[in-house]
């Protein structure tokens, strides 16, 4: 077989270089500048509420049997069909945790899915939901995390095929995903309902599992909270629509009890598939917030 002519080789190299440049350019990170972060006096108590509302610990827990097992020091595997992710250390350790992160670093991670050194996070970390969070809540959450004892813990590398290219490729996906506005609940409703809508859609990121994804791996809002295949690859995630009409729960008060107690009171649908851990986190919210979540969820028809 004859090699292509020198000229053809040059042409191929040129096309590949252009393609690589276009990929690199389109997938570039787009961080918020530090000047965009407002001056804010953090409220640690609210930060803790946000921490539980987001069920941060459910994913950022240490691996089983670790010392200081109640701190979000990361390293526990998060299994998906494409590979295993290892969520990182959220304690303020300077070397392995968030110790050296500025407020802007934290807000960029949570709302733009960017690491302090400008790499894209995979959307297994639900920044698509967190981008709808209030900046004050984000800064309170950061302050709460920084108030925890520091734990030295390095998360293992994700086991994904073609990790560095895939990571950069997330930037392309973000162009599509961020072009869509986050789900906007109706502006009308009781204060409790509005609070619930915020908790469910922004920090709570319930839709990450309960709303099925479209082919582009963004939430299919036509099937908002309608349930679907479990993102972990096995079994199904139930629909959150018509919870009372379908007699899953008697009323909002029944759902409050279920969220606060889960299977400890025999609500067995709140275990398995990761929901047990979410429920344990939600159980630590102040009662009015659990009530707000229930008020919002039972309104989904």
């Amino acid at each position: 077989m004859k090699l292509p002519s020198r000229r053809a080789q040059a042409a191929i190299a040129f096309v590949l270089a252009v393609a690589a440049f276009v990929f690199w350019w389109l997938s570039r990170p787009d961080p918020l500048p530090a000047s965009a972060i407002p001056v804010h006096t953090p409220d640690l108590a609210n930060g803790e509420v946000v921490f539980h509302a987001g069920s941060c610990f459910a994913c950022h827990k240490p691996k089983e049997g670790a010392a200081q097992g109640s701190l979000p020091s990361g390293g526990s595997p998060f299994k998906t069909p494409i590979g295993v992710f290892y969520p990182q250390n959220l304690t303020p350790d300077a070397e392995t945790g968030l110790g050296r992160w500025s407020e802007a670093d934290f807000v960029n991670a949570m709302t733009r899915g960017l690491s302090p050194d400008g790499r894209h996070y995979f959307p297994a970390f639900p920044y698509m939901a967190y981008r709808a969070m209030r900046t004050s809540d984000l800064l309170d959450l950061r302050a709460y995390l920084m108030s925890l004892p520091a734990v030295k813990s390095v998360a293992p590398r994700h086991t994904l095929p073609l990790l560095p290219v895939a990571r950069r490729g997330v930037g392309l996906w973000k162009r599509l995903a961020f072009a869509r506005a986050p789900y906007a609940p109706a502006a009308e409703g009781s204060d409790s309902w509005k609070r619930g809508a915020y908790l469910v859609n922004a920090p709570g990121h319930c839709g990450e599992c309960h709303t099925p994804k479209s082919l582009l791996m963004v939430e299919d809002l036509g099937r908002y909270m309608a349930g679907g295949p479990h993102p972990g690859g096995e079994g199904k995630v139930p629909s959150l629509r018509g919870l009372v009409e379908r007699r899953k729960y008697k009323d909002a008060a029944d759902l409050v009890l279920a969220l606060q107690n889960g299977e400890e009171l025999g609500y067995e649908d709140l275990s398995s598939g990761g929901m047990g851990q979410i429920q344990s986190n939600l159980a630590q919210l102040p009662e009015p917030d659990v009530r707000a979540i229930a008020d919002y969820l039972v309104s989904l028809k």
Partner: protein, 150 residues
């Protein structure tokens, strides 16, 4: 003609009964089905306990004892119905039951101990803590060893 029709109807009916019995026999021999039935009974027996816990029903030690005893029996029965290779298909059993058999056995024993303790509850003050321990044991095992609904 009428005789052959009757014979036909009879044999058809007989085959249906036979097929039904065969199907039921298969299901009865299938450990995944049997343990599912046992767990359904556990869940049914949990309901009167929950009603007491949320104060929909008054505390009644006899009701507690009866239901906790059923739960204990059915948990023991279910525990013996997880032979190697009985996962997959419609079963919600996770492979971890067999890859981490010691952990699973311990979780099952914890649940049985919690049911035993619940059966012995004679006063109201001890009921809710016993309920949390028992339900917590169910949850601990289900989070680790049970798949989400298929």
């Amino acid at each position: 003609m009428s005789l052959s029709k009757r014979t036909l109807a009879f044999s058809a009916g007989f085959s249906i009964v036979l097929a039904g019995a065969w199907g039921a026999g298969l299901a009865a021999e299938d450990p995944a089905h049997q343990r599912h039935e046992a767990m359904e009974t556990v869940q049914e027996s949990f309901k009167p306990l929950r009603a007491i816990a949320v104060k929909e029903a008054p505390f009644d030690a006899a009701v507690v004892k009866k239901n906790a005893t059923t739960i204990l029996e059915k948990l023991k029965e279910a525990h013996g119905l997880f032979p190697e290779g009985s996962g997959g298909g419609d079963s919600r059993a996770k492979p971890e039951i067999w890859s981490d058999r010691a952990g699973f056995d311990q979780a099952m024993k914890d649940a049985q101990a919690a049911a035993t303790a619940m059966a012995a509850v004679s006063e109201e003050a001890a009921f809710v803590p016993a309920m949390k321990t028992l339900g917590g044991a169910c949850k601990g095992c289900h989070d680790k060893y049970r798949l989400p609904k298929q």
